[in-house]
Structure formats: C-alpha cells, structure tokens
C-alpha cells in the first residue's frame, strides 16, 4: 500500500461530507477529522454512534436492513443541521447514516458536534439523533429468529412544531 499517496491531500482523495447516506461502513474518525479541521475556536467535540442491537421488543434480532429514500433523507439531514444551528449557533454538526444490511454490532449512524463549550455540542448531538428518528425517511427491516418486520416509528412531518420542540426539550434535559 502506498501510504505516501494516501495521506497526500488532493483531488484524488474523496472529501468527507458533513452529511451522507451511504451503503459503505461509517467512519467516525474521518467525520471527526473534518469537524476538527476548522475547530480552532472549539473547545468541545462530542459524538454519537448508533449500533445494531441483538434484541428488540423481546425478539432475538439476526440483522437489520436499512432502506432510505436517499435524496429526501439527505435533505432532511441538512434541515436538521440547519435547525440545530438556529438553536445552538456556535455548534457545528456532521451526520452520516448507513443503508443496506447491517449485522449485530455494526454502526448505523454517526453524529459529531463541535462547539466552543461542551453544553452546545452535547445538545446539538442529542437533538440531531432525536430529529433523525422523527423525520428522516429511513426504515429498519428487522430480521429476527422466526420472521421479519418493518419497524415503524414516527410519521415524518418536518413542519410539526410539537415534535421539534420535544427533540429540543430532550436535547436540553
């Protein structure tokens, strides 16, 4: 492997975006680096990773398949980041969500938030995961011992102020 070529930044190196919906394994270190690159004024960075759990509602989970309406999911993630920056203007957020088959223990979502002080980073990170569960068009197809089921949570309505306030309340709790 040519380490020299790999570490050299340039057009050949894929830039890591702040928002992504991807079938590729997620890279928390890479997303953290992107936020750290412009973090001279930031004294805090926090992250969240969602993992595939081996049990759910009394079922023994074998694996999950994530399906996304990708263009709208990307827009919804960008909207969440915009909302977050209205509530916590000093916090910057990146979020990547994975799609396709994920085995137990694999990472389905990563969120990184950076801010001058820790409270905004924690709040923006928590807000982002709560909003993802409310409005982003992504679905879990759970395969468990004895069957499979589509999980259905919240009706996605980005304009629902009560839902947005609830996410904000949880983020600040």
């Amino acid at each position: 492997m040519d380490l020299q070529a790999q570490s050299k930044p340039g057009p050949a190196m894929m830039a890591v975006p702040l928002v992504a919906v991807t079938a590729e394994p997620l890279d928390l270190a890479a997303l953290s680096r992107v936020l750290a690159e412009s973090a001279a004024a930031d004294g805090a960075m926090t992250s969240f990773a969602g993992l595939v759990r081996d049990h759910n509602q009394g079922r023994r989970v074998s694996y999950l398949e994530y399906e996304a309406y990708e263009p709208l999911a990307v827009k919804a993630l960008n909207l969440i980041i915009e909302e977050s920056s209205m509530f916590w203007p000093t916090a910057r957020v990146g979020v990547h969500h994975r799609t396709g088959r994920l085995d137990i223990g694999e990472t389905s979502i990563i969120i990184v938030a950076a801010s001058p002080h820790r409270s905004e980073a924690f709040a923006a990170c928590r807000y982002t995961i709560e909003r993802v569960k409310q409005i982003v068009p992504i679905w879990k197809h759970e395969h468990f011992e004895g069957g499979d089921v589509w999980l259905e949570g919240a009706t996605a309505d980005p304009g629902d102020e009560a839902a947005r306030n609830e996410a904000r309340r949880i983020a600040c709790a």
């Binding site: 399906e67 709208l72 389905s108 979502i109 993802v132 409310q134 992504i138 999980l151 259905e152």
Partner: protein
C-alpha cells in the same frame, strides 16, 4: 398523464414494487394519485393516516398538485437511527 410513484419499506412490500409508473387523470393531486393506487392495492389504505408524502423529493401535502412526469413518494412512519 403519467407519474412515477415511489413506495418504501412495508408499502413497497405490499405493492410488490418500489417504483410504479401510473396513469392519472389531469389535474391531479397527491391525493388523487393515492386514491388510484389504493383502488388497485387496497392493503395500502391502512397507511393513509400515518404516512408522509413527497413530490419530486420534497415533503408535500396530500392536496399538492401533481404534474406530468412528477415523482410522488409515499412514506410509512420512519424508523431510522
């Protein structure tokens, strides 16, 4: 006129396809596209109260106008994260 209907998760399973090209009467709304779809696939009807809809990859209301060639998506309650 023709529109493309996108269905996801259990809606896709119920319809047997995630993408359908549908003929609808003009003028059309998301609601009229949905009603035509439910007419052919009655099992979808249970989602009428809980689903969200999108037109051309933007969230929309059931009353939104739909034009020739539009992509109309019906989204069951989400479960990402």
């Amino acid at each position: 006129m023709r529109v493309t209907v996108r269905l996801f998760a259990r809606l896709r399973d119920l319809a047997g396809s995630g993408e359908l090209v549908r003929e609808v009467a003009s003028p059309a709304t998301v609601r009229s596209v949905w009603q035509g779809l439910v007419g052919d696939i009655p099992a979808l009807e249970e989602y009428e109260r809980t689903m969200s809809v999108a037109v051309n990859t933007d969230y929309a209301k059931m009353s939104a106008a739909v034009s020739e060639g539009d992509e109309v998506a019906f989204l069951p309650p989400v479960s990402g994260g």
